[in-house]
Symmetry: C3
Subunit: 336 residues, 3 copies
C-alpha cells in the first residue's frame, strides 16, 4: 500500500508533479525489467475493468497487455450493450454500476470521447461521477478533455530522447490537416503536462482552431510560473523555428458540435483545404533537430509526411510502447 | 475430484439441497479467503467458455472475474457471430459445437433469454441439449425459466443479513412497474429456491401478471412440504405486512410474446400505468424491518425509490458481489 | 530460443517439412502432457494478438485457449473497430499498426477471408505486409489461400488414426453441396500439405468448381516428386474407391466474386442443385475403411450425412482438438 493507493487518475492536473515523476521513474524501471517478479505479481488473479464508450486500438491493446503483464486480467466491456441509464433510456445508474464493479475489480478504466456525450466537459464529469461511487480507483483511458496516459507516455519518450531535464525545451503543437476530425483529448493533455514539466509552449494553427480557453489559460499560467515562453500563432515558420519537439496533429474546430451532433464531413472538408498544414522535412529543417511526436493513429499524407513519420527523429513507436509502461506504473501505484 | 465433478447446473431444482448448502458454505469461505492459494489454482491454465446469446453486465463481469480468481480464463463468446444452425439458418449443430468446446474448455456457461427463442421453455431445452452433447459441465448464466446463480447469490446474502436459519422467514416478491419489461428468470429462481430453504412465500402483483404455473405449483408444494405459508395476492399491504424480505421487481405479462415476438412497448406502457406499484419507504415500514433484495439492474423510480434502493436495509450490492463467490464455488465443485 | 524463433507461419509451404514434423511431434507431446510445467510457462505474462478481419468459432476458441494454456493471454481484436487505413478510408497504416503491436505482443495472428479483400490473393499479401513490418512472428489464422493450422491439425489427426507413416495413403477431397458458400482456405491447405506428406491425391467435384491453378500445380508437383498419384475427376465413384481419407467439403466456384462482391445466394443456389454430391454411408463403403475428415463447421445434410459425420470413422472432433495442440506448438516454436 503506497500513499497513492486508491487514488483516481482522471487528469494529471489532479496529481502532484512529484508523484507524476515517481510514476515515470517506475515506468522506466518497468521497461527495463519488464517481466521481473516484482511486477508480475502486482495484480495476480485480479481484474481491471475497461469501459469503452468509444472503441480504440492502442488504448485497448496497451491496457489489456498491462493487466496481463502485472499478472491480472483486463475485461473488455462496451457500455453500449450494458443497459446503462442515459438521458434518453431507462437502465442502470452510475451509482449502481460503480458500486458493483467495485466489488469485482481492482480498478476501472473509462474511455469516453466527445461523440458519446451531449456537451464538451460531460465526459470528464461522467468519469468523476464513476469515481464518486467507486471504492476502486478510476482511470481515464482518454476523455473529451484530456488523455493522461498519452501525456505521460509522451513525457517518458521525451525523457529518453531529450534527456531527463526537459525544462527549457521548446515544444511546438502544430495543427495538421486531416481526414479524421480528431478530438482535443491528447493535445490538450500535452499542453497541460508539457508546460508543467517546464517547457516553452508554442501552438500553431489556421484561424478558427482554438482550443478550450481554460486549458489555454492553465498552460499559459504554468509557462509563466516556470518563467517559460508561451506563444499562439498562425505562422508555421515561427512555430517550427528552433523548436525541440514537433507534435503535428489534426484537431476539430470549436464549432464541430455547433448543431448538436458532430459535423464530421464539414470538419474534414474544411480541414483538407489547408494544403500547407502538413509536417514535412522542409519544415523540420527549421527546428533544432526536433523529435517528432504523435499520439497515433497517424494520418500520413495529411498530418505528416511518411518521410518524417518514419524518419530518424520520429519517436512515435517509442511513445506508443510507453503507454504500456506508464499504465502499468499507474495501476501499480493506485491499485495495490 | 468431488462427487459433483462433471455435474451440470442448469436449474437448482436439479441439485440436492445439501449440495446447494455445501456450495453456499464454500462460497462463504471463498469470500473470506478470496485470493487464498487453495482457490487461485483451481482452474489454473484452464478455460471457461461463456456463451452469451443475450448480453449482460453483471453476469459477464462476475463470471469472467470468477475464472480469473480461480487462476483460469473465461472466453467471452457471442453465438450471433458463430454461424450456429438455427430454425432459419444453416450452420453448426449443437452436437458439433458442444463436442468441440468440450475438447478446449473446462466448463461452459450459457445465457439465453426469451427474446432469443421461439417459445418459453426453449431456452432451458437448448441448455439441456448442450449438456447432452458436452463432456464438460454446463451452467446456466440465466435462461428463460431460471437463473440459478442469482438465486444462490440471493440466499448467500440472506444468510449474511438474516442469519443462516432462513426457515420461517417471510419472503415477499412484489411486482414493480418498470420501463424495461423484465424476464421471469430471476424471480422464478427466487420462488423455487427461497421456498426450498423453508421460507413463507408471498407473491403480489396487479391482475394479469401470472407466472409459469409449473413454477408456482413447485413453489407451493415446497411451502406445503415445509409447513410454510404460500400466498398470491393483488393487495400490496397484505404482501408487505410483517415480511422479512422484500423483492420488488418488474416482470412481463404471460402475453408479452402472444404475437410471436416481444411486444416490449406494449408491456412497458401497460406497466407504467400502475403508479402505486413501487417499493417505497412507506411500504417498507409495514414490514418486519425487511431487507430489500433485487437482482439488478435496478430501474430506480419505477421498481423502487432511491431511498429504499440506496437505504440501510438494501442488500443489493452484497448480493451482486455474491454472484462472484457462488459462481466460483460452482465452478470449483463441478469442474475439477 | 530455438532456430525458428521469430519465424512467421503464413503458409506451411514457407516451412521445411522437417520443421513441420517437429511441430507435429511437439503438438503430440503437448496433448499427452497438456498442463505440464514445461508448457504452462511458455508465454507467461505475455500477449498474443488475434486480429479477426473475419469472425470465427474454432479459431477464436482454440487460439485463445492455446495462449491461456501456455500461461499467457490472447487479445480478441476486430480490425473493423480499429480505424485502419483501407483503399476507401483514411486511418492507420499496416506499418504503424504492426510496429506498435510488436512493442506489446509476443506474436500476432491474423484471419482474413475472401469477403474482406478486393481480389483473391490480397489476404495473403496483407499478412505478408504485416509480417514485413512486425518484429514479432505473424501467423495465419486462415486467409483467402491457405489455413496452415487447419492443415497441421488434420495431419496430426491422420497420424493418430492411420499411423505416422502417411506416405502412400490415398486422400480424396470431394466437393459437397452446401448452404454456406465456403472458402478455399482449408481445402487448398489440405492439398499442399497432404501431398507434401506423400499421399496420393484425388480431387472430385462437379464441373466449374476449379481451385487456384497454382495450388493445383504445386500439389501435382509434390505428388510427382514423391512418386504418388494425382487425379482430378468429376466421377465420385472413382474418387471414393479404395481411398483412405475422405474430406467432403463445399467450396465456391472461381466465379463467386466475378461481379466484384460475393454472389453468395447465387453460389448456394447453384450448389444445392447437385443433389448427389453428399458424402454418405453408401459412398463410404467404396473406400478402404476411410476416415472422414472435415475442418468444421460441418453443413450436415449437405456436405455429409449425420450417419457419416457422427459415425465411427469420423475424426472431426479429434482434428478440431488438434487445432489447440498444433497452435500451442507453433506459438512455442516461434515466440520464445
Amino acid at each position: 500500500m503506497g500513499k497513492l493507493t486508491g487514488k483516481d487518475l482522471i487528469t494529471t492536473i489532479d496529481w502532484e508533479k512529484d508523484d507524476l515523476i515517481k510514476l515515470l521513474e517506475l515506468a522506466e524501471d518497468m521497461q527495463k525489467n519488464r517481466y521481473h517478479k516484482k511486477y508480475t505479481e502486482v495484480l495476480k488473479y485480479k481484474t481491471f475493468m475497461m469501459f469503452f464508450y468509444n472503441p480504440s486500438v492502442r488504448t485497448r491493446q496497451s491496457f489489456e497487455t498491462a493487466a496481463t503483464e502485472l499478472g491480472g486480467h483486463a475485461q473488455f466491456l462496451e457500455p453500449k450493450s450494458m443497459r446503462l441509464k442515459t438521458a434518453k433510456t431507462a437502465g442502470e445508474t452510475v451509482e449502481d454500476a460503480a458500486n458493483v464493479m467495485s466489488r469485482y475489480g481492482a480498478g476501472l478504466g473509462i474511455r469516453i470521447l466527445e461523440d458519446q456525450i451531449s456537451a464538451y466537459g460531460e465526459g470528464e464529469k461522467l468519469l468523476r461521477e464513476y469515481a464518486h461511487y467507486s471504492s476502486i480507483p478510476v482511470m481515464s483511458m482518454a476523455h473529451d478533455k484530456f488523455h493522461p496516459m498519452q501525456g505521460l507516455a509522451d513525457i517518458m519518450g521525451l525523457r529518453k530522447h531529450l534527456g531527463k531535464k526537459l525544462e527549457g525545451k521548446t515544444f511546438t503543437l502544430v495543427w495538421g490537416k486531416g481526414a479524421l476530425a480528431r478530438s482535443w483529448s491528447s493535445i490538450q493533455e500535452a499542453l497541460v503536462l508539457y508546460s508543467r514539466f517546464g517547457m516553452n509552449v508554442r501552438i500553431a494553427s489556421p484561424e478558427g482552431y482554438d482550443l478550450d480557453p481554460e486549458v489555454i489559460d492553465y498552460t499559459k499560467s504554468q509557462c509563466e510560473k516556470n518563467g517559460k515562453k508561451f506563444l499562439i500563432t498562425h505562422d508555421q515558420k515561427e512555430a517550427y523555428e528552433g523548436s525541440n519537439i514537433i507534435y503535428s496533429r489534426n484537431w476539430m474546430t470549436p464549432n464541430a458540435y455547433a448543431n448538436g451532433s458532430l459535423d464530421k464531413q464539414g470538419e474534414i472538408e474544411k480541414s483538407l483545404k489547408y494544403n500547407d498544414w502538413i509536417c514535412d522535412m522542409e519544415k523540420m529543417k527549421l527546428t533544432d533537430d526536433a523529435v517528432f511526436v504523435h499520439p497515433m493513429p497517424v494520418d500520413r499524407g495529411n498530418e505528416v509526411t511518411d518521410e518524417v513519420a518514419s524518419g530518424k527523429r520520429s519517436i512515435i513507436y517509442d511513445i506508443a510502447e510507453n503507454r504500456l509502461h506508464v499504465q502499468k506504473a499507474a495501476m501499480m501505484m493506485t491499485m495495490v
